[in-house]
């Protein structure tokens, strides 16, 4: 009994240690001072010097990433809310099938998604002469594709629990359709929308394999740029940059958990 408990405790510590170690190491190694071309661990001297030398070359990719993630968030939000209402309220026959269909983007390896879009954009150029490959719009298409399932999932989840008699009560009491929507329906589904937006944003912001095929030098996203940098030209300043991203991500997710509660944040992760 006691041995069992000890074993469980050991696994818990080992597991959490393993999950957190890479993030902690990036944070710690970013504080190593001195000019080096490789990771020094443990750091021989502590300094924030790399934070003062955040590479300017990453500013544009960072802005692109944020812009595309926000755009994907917004488009997914509109489409996701529509789909969730249709699926839940419309009681469509075979809606489980439809749900599976909307969730399908998460069943395809993202690297495949990336190539599919690359080819699709080539074809689009060939057929209609519209050039989206390498543009922000092309990137946006990919990101809407991979974020929509999360949005439908979280909004659908709150909508399932929503009691329509609340709306009927508002309507009987003389509220117009519009004010019912604004004052009753929206406040109830808002947490679902926010949770979906959170997932959409971080999935979009962090993606490499789906994006790497459709970006150009001008529209390179931050993770794709980092991917090539880690692979080919590593500098310690990268660690400082990554640390900034880690800290911001942690703040965003812990903040969301405070605002929304754990339940909804947990729900979003498997999509529709």
């Amino acid at each position: 009994m006691r041995l069992g408990r000890l074993a469980v405790a050991a696994i818990v510590i080992l597991g959490y240690g393993f999950v957190l170690a890479p993030l902690v190491l990036v944070l710690v190694a970013s504080l190593a001072g001195g000019q080096t071309h490789y990771v020094v661990f443990p750091p021989t001297s502590l300094s924030f010097e790399w934070y003062l030398r955040l590479p300017v070359a990453y500013l544009r990719p960072a802005l692109t990433s944020v812009a595309v993630a926000l755009g994907a968030c917004l488009v997914s939000m509109v489409l996701g809310v529509l789909a969730a209402f249709g699926l839940v309220r419309g009681r469509l026959p075979g809606r489980n099938l439809l749900r599976a269909y909307f969730n399908a983007p998460l069943q395809i390896p993202f690297v495949v998604t990336g190539i599919v879009f690359l080819q699709f954009y080539y074809a689009l150029y060939g057929l209609v002469g519209v050039r989206v490959l390498g543009s922000v719009w092309g990137l946006l298409g990919v990101h809407v594709f991979i974020t929509l399932p999360y949005m439908i999932g979280t909004v659908g989840a709150v909508l399932e629990r929503f009691d329509p008699s609340l709306e009927e009560a508002a309507l009987t009491l003389g509220a117009s359709r519009w004010s019912t929507l604004r004052r009753v329906t929206l406040p109830v589904i808002k947490p679902g929308i926010i949770a979906g937006a959170l997932y959409a944003f971080v999935v979009s912001f962090g993606d490499v394999p789906a994006s790497m095929f459709v970006v150009s030098e001008q529209t390179m996203t931050l993770p794709v740029r980092l991917f090539y940098a880690v692979e080919f030209d590593y500098t310690p300043a990268l660690l400082a940059l990554c640390s900034v991203v880690v800290v911001l991500s942690l703040a965003l997710i812990f903040g969301m958990q405070r605002v929304l509660g754990l339940d909804l944040v947990l729900r979003g992760r498997t999509g529709a």
Binding site: V19, L79, V112, A123, L266
Partner: protein, 290 residues
Amino acid sequence: MSDPMRLRWRLFVIPPLLVSFVLFVAPQVAFLRGSFFRNLGFGQVGPDLTLENYVRFVTDGFYQAALARTAGLSLAAALLALLLGFPIAYRLARARTRWRSFWLTLLIASSLITVVIKALGMMILLSAHGPVNLALQALGVPGAPLPLLNNEVGVLAGLVHYILPLVVLTLFGVIQTIPESLEAASRSLGATGWRTVRRVVLPLALPGLVAAGLMGFNLAMGAFTSTALLGGGRVLTLPVLIQRKAVLEGDYPFAATLALVLVLSGVVVNLIVLRSVARPRHLAVAGAGS
């Protein structure tokens, strides 16, 4: 709800359906259709339907080895994640502290941070002078520092790291639905703690274990970023090969062939496991990997 109202709600599905058709069905079909044509280079394909891409896959041992490597690493990663994840999820589900949501959120956060950064951290962890090798040397392990990067060990570590938080979160949800009173009953009837876990908790959690294991397996099968970085281009799994075929060789038909093989073999493994183990209700087997 009145019927005309319901009809109106149904109309809401049309715009998202159209958009996802344009973004999803049409390109995927076109891409997979390409696997039945001969590659002429520069994005051109031959005019005639052919199975030669599939014949190439079946007759070339290199690609079958890649498939076996992909599936083997994914299976190992899923099993390791279950082995580590179950005790963690159990402990979290039975904890009553207000810290629980902190530890759960930490897992969510770590699963959401971009894979590139986690892979970079993993490179530091496993490097020749990294903490793991320092510890091994301190313990006097022969041969230390061991090569843990640019090989299957590094790739496996990356895969486990990638899926473990998601496996724990899934298992947590399952174990939470098992009433703790059942365990108390089992213990009061004289069962030891281990026996209670084995005879009460595990059987009830089995559907969840299957679902979580398959989710982890599916994510690992599709994993590209961490494998490419931690394998250092030397561990060729199907996702890595697919990227190479498309980008370096411009051979889209064969990339499509490999993609179809990858997805179908994942589906086959899922079906076999589901048939042979259990039939969990509400199976949300999700995940495709980034």
